[in-house]
């Protein structure tokens, strides 16, 4: 194992999982995909491992979503079972609600805005984001400003709507 890749692993693994999690919304699967990305990096030995990993991870997440969509055709959606333990506390419900509200808000962004925001949140620099997305470096700040504003607006709108619905 090359030392530099081990360094990249230490510094980037959590960020990669964080990035993947916002795409597949399943912690275990995000970790699986991150591991697989590093396994591929060992084989391919890319020059810019960090950027390469995020490109590969994005591709894998997309493929994974397609496969999941295929598999969903064999699934039947049913009401979720009641949990075996005590009902979750109000605080847990609140957290769970906010989690899905953020998810819903993220999914209202355009793919490009979302990608740039997620890459920034995963610790990539403007230069790295520009390389990965093909955007001009000067456009990253503008894109991020728009993505952040829309994320907050979509979240607040979702919350307001919920409060109205609750009466």
């Amino acid at each position: 194992m090359p030392d530099d890749l081990a360094d990249v692993y230490r510094s980037t693994y959590r960020a990669l999982v964080r990035f993947l999690y916002r795409k597949v919304w399943d912690a275990a699967r995000a970790e699986d995909l991150a591991q697989e990305a590093f396994a591929r990096a060992l084989v391919h030995k890319p020059a810019n491992a960090r950027g390469w990993l995020f490109v590969v991870a994005a591709n894998m997440a997309r493929d994974d979503a397609r496969r999941a969509a295929r598999e969903r055709r064999h699934l039947t959606l049913l009401k979720s079972e009641p949990p075996a333990s005590a009902p979750p506390s109000d605080e847990a419900l609140h957290t769970e609600g906010e989690h899905s509200q953020v998810r819903a808000a993220l999914e209202q962004l355009t793919p490009r805005d979302r990608e740039v925001l997620l890459l920034w949140d995963s610790g990539l620099s403007y230069d790295e984001i520009a390389t990965q997305t093909g955007l001009a470096r000067g456009a990253i700040g503008t894109t991020l400003a728009r993505a952040r504003r829309r994320l907050v607006e979509a979240f607040e709108a979702g919350r307001t709507g919920e409060h109205v619905a609750r009466g």
Partner: protein, 367 residues
């Protein structure tokens, strides 16, 4: 200098401007109250966006150690490729053996038949494999081609009736012989499956079978892992067949499950996979696979029948129809399912009975 646009403000706050650009922004803000106010607004916006993204972050788990031994690229388990071939071979073998044993039994049962019987027997033995019996019989019976009201007709009809009766008996014999054959074959496979260790094993605590079919059908292997990782991942020891060499341990990717696949060698050319899974708390609590009820609703005897019947093309179609029926019971199965039960299944290029025998021998894998 003109006012600072949002992009530059964000880049400034993100620390992504060059020192020169930063100085320009700071110089402008120092003498522009509007931009100073906007700077604070954007700062708050960034903080809020970061806070929201933090709400949608994965659980903060420790980074697993980077081990070179763990990092081979995942390989497809070989029977995923070879399974269709194995099925084809099974069908051919079953038909061939049925034909062979059928002809043996037929000749033994009817030693005193007339000259035509041997011809008939030869024809009938082909029947299960190829044409329907009646068609074969008609061809075998010495029936007048131009059928008229001529005196010859009664003999022709009689001959036909006679040969039909014989063929009926032949058909029964064949029908009886074939299950015997497949049972014998299965026993042979079962013996070969347990051959590496004939010592009686204590029956392991049977893992909940509720979702066994589902786990096997949807298991995809992930990266190889160490036993330690697998144990940490499952919260317990993964299951394995005792006394069989372990060739590898992989993460299993199952819908709604955290799983581990233990790859074990039965002999030099046969590999089985032992899948151990636990329902993942996060994933897809509201999703039930339609196939999940199969293990619940099918009794062991029916299961064995399905395994045997699957060797013939007709019942392959029947087996494919099974999930539809199972879907009706999925809701009931879901209601009965204990939360986060550990499930396990053995998969491999073996008969259903051999796999079931191996399944009964599963034990927690210890170092």
């Amino acid at each position: 200098m003109s006012h600072v646009d949002d992009g530059a403000l964000h880049a400034y706050l993100d620390g992504e401007l060059s020192p020169l650009e930063s100085q320009d922004v700071e110089a402008h803000i120092a003498q522009c109250p509007g931009c100073r106010r906007r700077l604070e607004e954007e700062r708050a916006l960034i903080a809020r966006a970061d806070e929201l993204l933090g709400l949608a972050a994965p659980p903060d788990r420790a980074t697993p150690p980077f081990r070179p031994g763990d990092r081979e690229p995942p390989v497809r388990l070989w029977w995923r490729v070879r399974l269709p071939l194995a099925w084809a071979a099974t069908v051919v073998l079953a038909l061939g053996a049925g034909t062979y044993f059928g002809s043996r039994v037929l000749q033994r049962e009817q030693p005193a038949a007339d000259q035509r019987t041997s011809d008939l027997a030869a024809t009938s033995t082909l029947a299960p494999a190829a044409a329907p019996e009646t068609g074969a019989t008609r061809r075998a019976a010495p029936r007048p081609v131009g059928r008229t009201r001529a005196p010859a007709a009664p003999t022709g009809v009689a001959a036909e009736r006679k040969s039909t009766a014989k063929d009926k008996s032949a058909e029964v014999v064949v029908a009886e012989a074939r299950p015997e054959t497949s049972v014998a074959l299965r026993d042979e496979l079962a013996v070969s499956a347990v051959k590496p260790s004939l010592a009686p094993q204590p029956v392991s605590p049977a893992p909940a079978p509720a979702l066994a079919g589902m786990v096997g059908q949807y298991a995809l292997t992930g990266p190889p892992v160490t036993l330690d990782s697998a144990r940490a991942f499952l919260g317990t020891d993964p299951y394995a067949v005792p006394d069989l060499p372990v060739r590898g341990i992989y993460r299993a990717r199952l819908i709604g499950f955290s799983g581990v696949v233990v790859e074990q060698a039965l002999d030099s050319s046969t590999v089985i996979a032992v899948i151990t899974g636990r329902q993942a708390p996060l994933s897809l609590q509201s999703v039930v696979v339609t196939d999940a009820a199969r293990a619940d609703t099918v009794k062991p005897a029916e299961r064995a029948l399905m395994g045997r019947a699957a060797a013939t093309p007709d019942s392959l179609a029947a087996a494919e129809r099974k999930p539809e029926a199972a879907a009706l019971h999925a809701r009931g199965a879901a209601a009965n399912r204990p939360a986060a039960a550990l499930v396990s299944e053995v998969r491999g290029p073996l008969s259903a009975d051999s796999l079931a025998a191996l399944q009964r021998r599963l034990q927690p894998l210890r170092p």
